[in-house]
Point group: C2
Chain length 386, copies 2
């Protein structure tokens, strides 16, 4: 295994873009990424596309060569990877693995989703496919209701409060308001978050991430070659993808995601770093409770302490452990397949000192955590400055 | 790169199984494979699932952990790979690469598709997603009509005859009739094939592969460890996945698939073997013309000679270069995501001498060729006896 670096990134804005196709978004991000690294598309040796449900949202399948050929990436392995909301993270994981193992030098990863062309009920139906359709979903669950159950249990078990959930929303909205890439750029107050329209109690609209269109891209190279392309390569210090059962009712304890814990352990070991060393993180806040649980599963705090930690402002831009400086899925938006790749772009932007108004003071070791469904897939990545 | 061996295989029957779910088929194949190799599911270090359109056919997405957890494969990377009709081949390619590169020792690949629960028009709509939906498909094409155009051009350019296409169908039906796994076990005559109901002229129903349900699985290990598991490991001597544009109208010459040629060149180079050395092959006969073109693209014959070669019986069980002894997609069936993995199982069965009534006399070096859409993805694998 040789060290691997991110040598380029590219993102589209996240939002609702009725006039854009899935392919045009993916190509925009891919082109921006190749330009960022000053690499011609003909030099790309393998291409991984993270996409959750393009065929269901748009009808178009066979998406990797469909996007790749429009970018000038042909004649090489072009593969779509699907792992629900962790599709982007999984594509990045496999791209990393292939470079680390010496299979290829220059590997492009794009994550993309085009969701807003469908009605909200149809979007909910498509998203339900990331859960157990014949089980929990047939019984009436939706993703908001699954995470509402998770939140209720966390409240019961640890005394987590509605205010703690709302604090996550307030912070992520505040961060997103400063990001030119964010879908929702709107500051909210704690009172507003608490008075939000209920979606699945205790979760309100302010606890739920957005239905978005968007794409993000990353170019990987062996660290030894990185200086040919950029003065600011970012090292993939640790990474792991793991899996668990899909249905929530098959889990022993719904207040924790074992796949995240296991992926974090592996990624920390590989990076030679622990949770205390991580300076900032992009976490998978598909719902506010998910950010709180991620803080616990990643070892940033003990089980049950994620709520108070969030309410105390510890994860704010000015706190000791800034989380989702980008605005997170909550405010940046959550074009499913793009999310895991966008998280990498956002961590890389911080490490490179290119995060503009959102630039954090300590930014040499960051983490990204991407979750699929209610925890059946998890990808955790540790990135560090060279 | 270390040598990699197939140490176990498993297949379900292919057919129309209204009472079976996608998951139960995948689990049946996976379990048969693990039993074949005498490996406990807990020992599997990574899992790749090849599936084209499970979410569109069944609603269920996030399929890798959904299948993996039902098999007892959790806590490891579980990833679904989609590359249209080459989804299975692509999953196998990435699994191979990960073992060859030393990332994992025991890697499970399952290919699966559950198609028959949808009406034929809906199936056609879902399959159209493997082409360019906003281009050729919007203009009225379907996959049968795209391959009809390919056939017409091949006829015009090389003098290929309807009888040559029919000869492929007659052979594959004859082989499939002898296979306990085949969806269609029905011998047909040349006259019947020629008089088939037209689908998209010159293609009749006998020129088109089947809409099927089914799954296939393969377990890979480093060749150095293979003898721990089986007395008959089969070596993956060469393999490559490549890509091309998706839309047929973007291609320069529609009588050849450059992705197949390039993948074959790479796989041959890696195997240190050429087309003349290959003793038998499983080729992607989604339509009869595709088998004829594959013979040419793989270098078994010169461009334009695939038709006469087939009519002369050269690809029959008793010919010098048996092709699709399994019955091929034509008679075995074509559960899209399963196909590429089933081809590997069928080549391995021949090499191991376990092909029963279909056992070929020369069976130490075989090839599998898996095609996505009208040539945007190709995977070519060369397998040899130890």
């Amino acid at each position: 295994m040789r060290p691997v670096a991110v040598i380029g990134t590219g993102k589209t804005q996240f939002g609702a873009f009725p006039d854009r196709t899935l392919r045009s978004l993916a190509v925009e991000a891919g082109r921006a990424c190749l330009e960022n690294a000053q690499v011609a598309s003909s030099r790309v040796e393998a291409f991984f596309l993270g996409n959750f449900a393009g065929p269901s949202f748009t009808g178009q399948n066979h998406l990797a060569p469909y996007v790749g050929s429009a970018l000038g990436v042909t004649g090489v392995p072009a593969t779509r990877v699907e792992a629900a909301c962790a599709s982007g993270g999984s594509a990045f994981f496999h791209a990393f693995s292939s470079v680390a193992a010496g299979l290829y030098d220059l590997v492009l990863v794009i994550g993309v989703e085009k969701m807003t062309s469908q009605t909200t009920p149809r979007v909910a139906e498509i998203l339900a496919g990331a859960g157990d359709l014949a089980g929990e979903m047939k019984a009436g669950a939706t993703f908001p209701s699954l995470f509402a159950m998770i939140a209720r249990r966390h409240m019961y078990q640890y005394g987590t409060r509605r205010e703690d959930l709302a604090a996550v929303a307030v912070k992520n909205h505040a961060n997103g308001a400063k990001s030119p890439y964010a879908h929702m750029r709107k500051v909210i107050t704690l009172a507003q978050a608490l008075a939000g329209k209920p979606v699945a109690e205790p979760l309100t609209v302010y606890d739920c991430s957005l239905i978005s269109d968007g794409a993000a891209a990353v170019l990987l190279a062996p660290a030894g070659l990185a200086s040919e392309f950029t003065a600011r390569p970012v090292i993939v210090a640790g990474i792991a993808q793991t899996s668990d059962c899909v249905a929530l009712d098959e889990k022993e304890d719904i207040t924790t995601f074992p796949a995240v814990k296991r992926a974090a352990e592996k990624a920390y070991r590989m990076a030679g770093a622990g949770p205390a060393d991580i300076e900032f993180a992009e976490l998978h806040d598909c719902f506010t409770i998910a950010e709180i649980i991620a803080l616990e599963d990643l070892g940033f705090v003990k089980p049950g302490e994620g709520g108070p930690y969030s309410s105390a402002g510890c994860t704010a831009l000015t706190g000791p452990k800034p989380v989702n400086a980008s605005g997170g899925l909550k405010a940046k938006g959550h074009p499913v397949g793009a999310t895991g790749v966008a998280q990498i772009c956002d961590v890389v932007a911080q490490i490179r000192g290119e995060a503009g108004e959102l630039q954090l003071p300590r930014h040499s070791l960051g983490l990204a955590q991407n979750l699929g469904g209610s925890g059946a897939t998890a990808v955790v990545t540790v990135l560090r400055a060279t």
